[in-house]
Amino acid sequence: MSDLPRPEALFANINHTPPKADWMDVPVDIKPGRYCYAANPDSVNYVGLPHARKWNPLDDDWKLPENWQEIIFKGLHERLQKYRSFKIFMDICVRCGACADKCHFFIGSGDPKNMPVLRAELLRSVYRGEFTTFGKILGRFAGGRKLTPEVLKEWWYYFFQCSECRRCSVFCPYGIDTAEVTIIGRELLNLVGLNIDWIATPVANCYRTGNHLGIQPHAFFDMLDFFCDDIEDITGIRPEPSFNKKGADILFITPSGDVFADPGTYTCMGYLMLFEYLKREYGLDVTWSTYASEGGNFGFFTSHETMKRLNSKMYMEADRLGVKWILGGECGHMWRVVHQYMDTLNGPEFQNSRMEVPSNPITGTVFKNAASTKMVHIAEFTADLIKHGKLNLNKKRNANIHLTWHDSCNPARGMGLLDEPRFVAKSVVEKFTEMPEGTIREQTFCCGGGAGLNAGENDELRMMGGLPRANAVKYVHEKYGVNMLGCVCAIDRAVLPNSMQYWVPEVDVCGLHELVANALVFPGEKERETDLRGEDLPGLEDE
């Protein structure tokens, strides 16, 4: 984070008043710190996406294919037929501006092209200028413009400054979802080989090894084994997770970020402990897969088709192993895809008819809300266990934690998972305080790094985008002494620690199941002296 200005300086630079000049006359200015590096051609090639090449966003020449305009027009035309959402959103925006100050990237950067309406207008103006009669005749007078290389660069720059969080959509009187426009905009860019590496390489990795970090099966095994060592040290209990086990009850899939980076690793240890507890107490058989070892779907940031290809592994693996249903870990994009796309994309092709409507064999609860996809969120699962008193929990172990809750965008606005994690969290921590209204639940703010923008080189963008979330955390930190920010998303767990470090250094970040595992009391475990992070448990002294 060396090039970043100090928080106060960054903040002081935010100016929400747009410049005088008309936005069509303001040329795109690609600023280092606000964009991610261009995609590595090898990764693009690996998944067979078109026009892989080396190019640099800072160069004048992006080495576009000869007929790039034709490709874009054809793609645009096709998508107008294929997506009513896109067509409607191109046609009915009244530019009321209700969405303008709702985007965290606009709030944090002040760049007017980060206002959702203008972000969409970048594409809409070309649609008007090249596809509508009015726009073709009247041109700029009707708000239309031609597709030039400059415009294409502007698309690339600003569509990769949208984390597809959908906050704008909540406020739009017609539900215009700029995320949807961005998704299609990125598809179009992909047609001419313009992606970013933080998306392209994870996509290639997911395709090959099953997870975005490219962890091969033996290494995946080693990493979880290493967590088991730690757990044994802390609790005296050694989990024995199973892998690729045929005939298990449930297949568990989590974002691989949790396997790799702190503090997600503690959440991962939490899953391991919970499953071990359920195995010992109730005989529940949960298996992990090395083949389908990624929940987060980076294909979603590339094209609907790539999303489908990556997502298919979940059902293929469930089928191969013969499990009854799939349990999904704490992940944002994964859940948007699982909830809104998976069944449509891959249900008929890959879901095995032997799979059952998920039911919790321990409590008897049937998850009717997942009747078709056969996939349950772990927050729903654990909430059910706790409600039925199936877990022995000791909140005091989390006594040093004063928690607040970050609703991750995708589960919040693409699913409605709001109260389940809160119920679980409140069952395992003593102190819980909500952030102010307008910053939580469906109005929650993105961490600043969603939709593939969590790279190192775009630090400034992430810190600007993370400001609204951090600011609300800062408020509850200063007012109530909150010191921990909980969430159910692996990208959050990767981005928010940096953002907290920058804006509110006194607050840490954790996942839900880290807290659960801290509180979970195993029969016959040794007295715990530390939490999963190896920090002392001060709240226990009086016992």
Partner: protein
């Protein structure tokens, strides 16, 4: 600048009617042919646009969920903001269309000293939009008395309600005031708020001025120019019953009013005003949110592409898997080529 263009355009249109129907005496054109044509363009255009949207597929179930999902029985679902039944979806749409639910949520962001941001509720746009649309609707309904004989009780009722205060003669309609105030607000907001000004196009100012022009010409006619109402009704009835007549001496103000209305009608299907039809079709609002419970079907198919199968995966990593005792489908010897 864009606002000025639009203003001039509306003035030019009014002048056109003034000269056409006044000096040139083309009452028939401005009283009958143009309005008829405009209505035809409106109806046909509107339908074509909706059909055009309807032809685009809805491949995925992508509603924006704005509340708690249907989940465990003891967790309270937000049945309207995150509906899992058709009834819920209908309620959600009704709230949206009739009460502008999403705009009601609107907030305003402010930056403060240090590194502080606050959000406050901001209901002015909601109020302005609501006042605008409802008074517009009332005015349109009120005008139905020109096209009906006998005038239905409900329209007479609306009129009576509207002139409740009984100010002046002819009585002042409350909606006229609300309408002009709301349109003015919507315009002023576009000019004064820098962000809104920045995103506004000619197409945003033009309909506002046009509507304002219609309102002013109507009000002027009613309270000052005093056109002959009986003749106007005769003309209107003639229009709808296809026995076209142009009574003498209606007054040129009427033709200006009528022409601006015609322009609005004809412009409607070509413009963002189509949000009136589009709001019902928005997939983020009008779909059931229970997409894990009910399968949504995509009408088109993806091209056949390669999926990375488990067999290919195991073939690549078999040795490493065996090394860690991870189960494999084919033993090492068999798999090794």
């Amino acid at each position: 600048m864009k606002a000025l263009y639009s203003l001039f355009l509306v003035f030019a249109l009014a002048a056109l009617a003034l000269v056409g129907a006044g000096a040139l005496g083309m009452e028939k054109a401005f009283g009958l042919y143009i309005p008829f044509l405009a209505v035809a363009v409106f109806v046909v255009g509107f339908c074509m646009r909706v059909v055009d949207w309807g032809k685009s597929a809805v491949p995925f179930c992508i509603p924006t969920t704005c509340g708690q999902q249907e989940s465990l029985p003891w967790i309270k679902q937000s049945t309207i903001e995150n509906p899992s039944t058709t009834g819920g979806v209908v309620m959600r749409m009704l709230l949206e269309v009739l009460l502008f639910r999403s705009l009601f949520r609107n907030t305003k962001v402010d930056l403060h000293e240090g590194t502080k941001i606050t959000y406050s509720s901001s209901k002015w746009l909601w109020l302005g939009a609501l006042a605008f649309h409802y008074s517009f609707l009332t005015i349109v309904l009120r005008h139905m008395r020109f096209f009906t004989e006998p005038v239905p009780g409900i329209i007479a009722g609306i009129e009576a309600m509207d002139s409740m205060l009984q100010i002046g003669a002819p009585t002042l309609y409350l909606t006229d005031i609300a309408f002009v105030a709301a349109v003015t607000y919507l315009f002023v907001r576009r000019v004064v708020v820098p962000q809104i000004r920045y995103i506004s196009l000619v197409q945003d100012y033009f309909p506002l001025f046009l509507i304002l022009g219609i309102a002013f010409s109507g009000i002027f006619m009613r309270y000052f120019a005093k056109v002959d109402i009986i003749s106007v009704k005769q003309l209107a009835m003639g229009l709808v019953t296809f026995s076209w007549v142009v009574p003498e001496g209606i007054g040129v103000m009427f033709y200006i009013h009528m022409f601006l209305v015609s322009v609005l009608l004809a412009y409607f299907p070509l413009s963002k005003l189509m949000h009136m039809g589009g709001v019902f079709l928005s997939p983020t609002r009008n779909m059931n949110c229970a997409s894990r419970k009910f399968r949504h079907i995509n009408p088109w198919k993806f091209e056949n592409v390669h999926y990375h199968t488990y067999e290919e995966y195991e073939d690549e990593f078999r040795e490493k898997m065996v090394e860690k005792d991870l189960p494999v489908d084919k033993p090492l010897a068999e798999g090794a080529e």
